[in-house]
């Protein structure tokens, strides 16, 4: 050791006041960083909380629905026993309203009174009678939804104490409704219709079944395309493709695809899938394909990261005993990368679930009164349904919009939970 020419460092007095002060500052910096972190997390979670809370505040009332118990009489004069479907159910309903308010005599008032019942009452009664043909000639009680203004009145969204000219419902209408309340005919049960009805022009009848089914089909298509294609592409790029300028370019390019506005994917889908391939407009098949174009880059990026994180020692071990490259990947790398791949899948699908803009371009914002029967039928999706409802004047749609968003978030949280569960199941240490 010829190098020990240097002098020994001067001893440092660790307990001198300067040293103490210095350390104090360092600890303060430490606490500050911790505080920033905590504040950041609280801010982020707080914002999420505010978001959800505001949705709950506006949306909770959509989960119940005002209903009115009405006695209907399917007298054979209006409803022919041989073909109940062809009956005049408008008459049946207006007779029932007349029976509900015997004091009303003129036609105008009667019409006002029948507005308390949902416009869908006719269809509800019709379907009920068609399902039970034995009811022809009978009197039966059905709970039918109240129309939106009265639903809002009952839920207190419309303030009965406001002056009449600032209210959607008149004094006379309130009086009629209150007489129903007094007779105990008004109830507010859980609104199953929100989940089992398709869309409707009438808020009290509108439900999410169509959008949920449409979103489900679109996501299914999206998953079936982007999951295998994304994984296969990622494996090829990460494990097989030579590493050179070209693959760098491909990598940059895939990252860049993630920045392409989703609406451009919508344009591409419109031009290629609908105009060139002639696939039907508004179909979940096309929606899913467009969404998969969008999620593919995310899938590929995340899957590649997951593959990269598998230690080379595992690969070498398998190669070293004579496994082929494909076997190494299939037997060892993929199972170990699965948790990461699942994260990517979920992020990708979550993004697809909430995406609106490209669906507008391919017509998945149509108004449809029945859920799609398959991936080729016209359909809406949850976000476009939200978009449509948000644009409707009726008060009832305001709360339904929030409720629909909550349902979508529920979907999302469910998907996340599944992912986390799977992630934990497949997570293995090495």
């Amino acid at each position: 050791m010829s190098e020990t020419t240097a002098t020994a460092p001067k001893p440092f007095d660790w307990s001198s006041p300067e040293a103490m002060a210095k350390r104090k500052r360092r600890y303060a910096a430490d606490r500050r960083l911790r505080l920033y972190g905590l504040v950041s997390i609280l801010v982020a979670i707080g914002l999420l909380g505010i978001l959800i809370a505001s949705l709950v505040v506006t949306g909770y009332s959509a989960f119940v629905q005002t209903k009115i118990a009405v006695e209907f009489t399917a007298d054979p004069e209006n409803v022919p026993a041989e073909d109940p479907g062809a009956g005049n159910f408008r008459a049946v309903v207006s007779n029932a309203v007349q029976a509900l308010f015997p004091e009303i005599e003129n036609r105008r008032e009667l019409r006002t009174a029948s507005k308390i019942l949902s416009n869908g009452a006719t269809t509800i009664v019709r379907n009920h009678v068609i399902a039970n043909p034995g009811l022809v000639g009978q009197t039966f009680t059905l709970e039918v939804p109240a129309s939106d203004p009265f639903d809002q009145l009952n839920k207190g969204v419309i303030d009965r104490n406001l002056p009449e000219d600032r209210r959607r419902v008149s004094d006379a209408e309130i009086e009629l409704f209150e007489s129903l309340e007094a007779r105990g005919l008004v109830s507010t049960p859980f609104n199953w219709g929100l989940f089992f009805n398709a869309d409707s022009r009438f808020p009290e009848l509108a439900g999410l079944a169509g959008a949920v089914v449409g979103s489900f089909y679109a996501l299914l298509v999206c998953f079936l395309i982007s999951f295998p294609v994304g994984i296969a592409a990622a494996i090829y790029l990460e494990e097989f493709a030579p590493k050179n300028r070209w693959t760098d370019l491909v990598e940059v390019n895939i990252n860049n695809l993630a920045a392409v506005p989703s609406i451009v994917f919508g344009l591409l889908g419109l031009a290629v899938f609908i105009q060139v391939f002639g696939l039907p407009r508004s179909a979940p098949l096309v929606g899913g394909m467009v969404l998969s174009l969008m999620t593919l880059p995310t899938m590929i990026i995340v899957t590649r990261a997951a593959l990269k994180s598998i230690p080379p020692s595992i690969r070498e071990a398998a190669l070293g005993i004579g496994a082929s490259k494909h076997e190494v990947i299939l037997h060892h790398v993929l199972p170990l990368a699965l948790p990461g791949i699942l994260t990517g899948t979920i992020i990708g699908l979550a993004q697809a679930l909430g995406e609106t803009a490209p669906l507008l371009l391919i017509g998945m914002n149509a108004f449809l009164t029945s859920p799609p029967g398959g991936i080729m039928d016209p359909a809406t999706a949850l976000p476009t349904q939200i978009f449509i409802w948000a644009d409707s004047p009726e008060r009832g749609f305001a709360s339904r919009t929030s409720a629909a968003i909550l349902v979508l978030l529920g979907f999302l949280i469910f998907m996340n939970a599944v992912a986390i569960y799977l992630r934990q199941r497949f997570e293995r240490r090495w």
Binding site: R126, I158, S200, F367, S370, P393
Partner: protein, 321 residues
């Protein structure tokens, strides 16, 4: 082959079409039509794209078809189109109930919202930023007006019904010629006070609820549904109500239409029946279910006329003569 009717067009007509479509789907064995809201202009573009199953059968419009659009139709072989007026819609200017009562003339609105206005006989870039700068009797608050974007028919209607009429009050503008006059009269300012707020009228409504000094321009049905929080601005002394709109004393109202592609009648199942349902008394008559949704019905004679024309498939001839 397609077995449902396809409808595109105005977002203003969309809710009425939805209601009819739903009723039609429930009451008949035909599948319910597929309805998309694309805006009037966009709807026209798609509708006039051609004849055949790839193109829609009906488009809704919050203003009458223009000649240029009709020509586009003709070019693409859509040579027989029936125009059906379904009623009218008041364009309302409204603000929060917390705000003061406001009564505006069209000239004042023009002064507040145009890109260029007349000041002291000269045409200059709009200098007004507060209402009371236009007229001392108006409130001392900033001009903030949320309105529809140029892609919407509502915007077209507003320009035509308010701005163009408002600008007629100014001699220096009146003195202009041709294109230049058009531009001054029709161009909205882009320096802030007029805020193009997108196609979603509810967003405007809710912004007004948050911002008590702002005004908004949107369809009457949104005002009707939100009377507890919003109130109308009187235009030329008249506030929009179903009565004033129907009797046309409220002058900012416009007719609503839909257009049927006659070549599709008898080919697309249920198209004829759907049109019949749309013009039926239960739908567009007084007390019909469309009125409940905010449509202002036509007069009795006019309805009769429209109904016959719609059912027979009378060709639109306005631009061919």
């Amino acid at each position: 082959a397609r077995d449902q009717i396809r409808i595109v067009g105005s977002s203003t007509v969309f809710p009425y079409t939805q209601a009819v479509a739903e009723e039609f789907g429930n009451a008949t064995d035909f599948p319910a039509p597929v309805t998309e809201s694309t805006g009037t202009g966009g709807g026209m573009q798609i509708f006039c794209g051609g004849v055949g199953v790839d193109y829609p059968d009906i488009t809704g419009a919050s203003r009458a078809m223009k000649e240029s659009e009709y020509k586009l139709c003709l070019e693409n072989g859509v040579d027989s189109v029936t125009e059906v007026q379904i009623g009218s819609d008041g364009l309302s200017i409204a603000h929060s109930v917390e705000g003061p009562e406001i009564d505006l003339t069209k000239a004042q609105i023009f002064q507040a919202l145009a890109a260029e206005v007349e000041v002291d006989g000269k045409i200059v870039a709009n200098p007004y930023t507060r209402w009371n700068q236009i007229d001392p009797s108006l409130p001392d608050s900033e001009i903030t007006v949320f309105g529809p974007p140029p892609t919407s028919g509502t915007r077209d209607a507003f320009v035509e019904l308010v701005m163009e009429e408002g600008c007629e009050q100014f001699p220096a503008i009146e003195a202009l010629e041709g294109d230049r006059k058009d531009e001054v009269c029709k161009r909205m300012r882009t320096d802030g006070p007029f805020v193009e707020a997108g196609e979603n009228d509810n967003l405007i409504v809710q912004r007004l609820q948050a911002d008590h000094n702002a005004l908004g321009i949107f369809g009457y049905s949104f005002l009707y549904e939100n009377q507890d929080t919003l109130k109308a601005v009187a235009v030329e002394g008249v506030k929009p109500t179903p009565e004033t709109i129907a009797d046309e004393s409220y002058t900012v109202s416009r007719p609503l239409f839909f257009y049927v592609k006659n070549a599709h009648r008898g080919v697309i199942p249920g198209l004829q029946e759907f049109v019949e349902e749309y013009v039926s008394e239960e739908a567009m008559g007084p007390g019909g279910y469309l009125e409940e949704r905010g449509l202002i019905p036509l007069s009795d004679e006019r309805r009769e006329e429209v109904r016959n024309a719609a059912i027979e498939g009378k060709n639109l001839t306005r631009y061919t003569q």
